[in-house]
Subunit: 198 residues, 2 copies
Amino acid sequence: MDYYSGYINKLIEQLSRLPGIGAKTAQRLAFHIMSMPAEQAKQLASSITEAKEHVQYCKCCQTLTDSELCPICRDAKRNQKQIMVVEHPQDLAAYEKTGRYEGVYHVLHGAISPMLGIGPDDIRLKELMQRLQGDVDEVIIATNSSLEGETTAMYISKLIKPTGIRVTRIASGVPVGGDLENIDEVTLLRALEGRTEL
Amino acid sequence: MDYYSGYINKLIEQLSRLPGIGAKTAQRLAFHIMSMPAEQAKQLASSITEAKEHVQYCKCCQTLTDSELCPICRDAKRNQKQIMVVEHPQDLAAYEKTGRYEGVYHVLHGAISPMLGIGPDDIRLKELMQRLQGDVDEVIIATNSSLEGETTAMYISKLIKPTGIRVTRIASGVPVGGDLENIDEVTLLRALEGRTEL
């Protein structure tokens, strides 16, 4: 691959390390960047370095933020006694988009996965347990509905139960607008198990 | 979207401007970048700025390179009298990967497209015509087999014909390993028209 400039090769290589970006896509992106106005490319580069420089973990909920405490943990209008535990900051964002959740969060930055060698000490569980020494009414476990997410939910609930704090798990079932026909069997069984009175 | 840091939002926005990167992918990439070691993120950012700073157009064939003349135009072993005209540097790379083409290239950086308002003056055609005033045996037109590519090929061949230089077009037909069953009709007809004696 010495038919491009070495700089382009380096850019392609760097881009192809990103998740979901293969060699072809990296090449396409690199040439797009080469054809961008210089100012725009500079902004892209600086947005990467600036984000890395300024963003830190919230001291309380561990989400990514640019201040010591994230806006949600600082917000007196949010119910600080209700903590929703999620795997990633994106999950927090997903619930925030609903605009209806009024409690706060705790971001684990991962899930327990014996397969990948990720144990309870590798996610931000210690920080959650510390928070529970304060005044907390309920912990809502909203880890993903995957094997790892379920394992993590189970582990956390066993850990918290003895403290007497209420532990709940978000419901698993048929997504709204979902066609029963196209939904996997495990989800269908979960929806059946979790049926509610009308 | 003020539940992330403003820096993350800016990064997501910048990434989502890249072609083929939607809002979801941009978010995934941004969080991946946030979880990268700082050194690696710095390298990604600097590869963008460095490529923009150092890469320029080859004075002769107009491909992207980091010197005044690209390695192919500088190479005395290449047949400088045989010029393959391509739309993009990626197309040049595709032919270089075959390892069998011994001539040189000319990169148009686009194709004529009346639909998009791209005329002959918007691609690097003037530069090609200038090169033809030197000693050239053959111009091989290897623009894409799309409407724009064909229009461009036609336009260029009409432009060059009067000079007496040989103008050829790469063959269009069934790709090697292709199943006739799955190939579109236009390609099948092209393959028939372009049939050769056995």
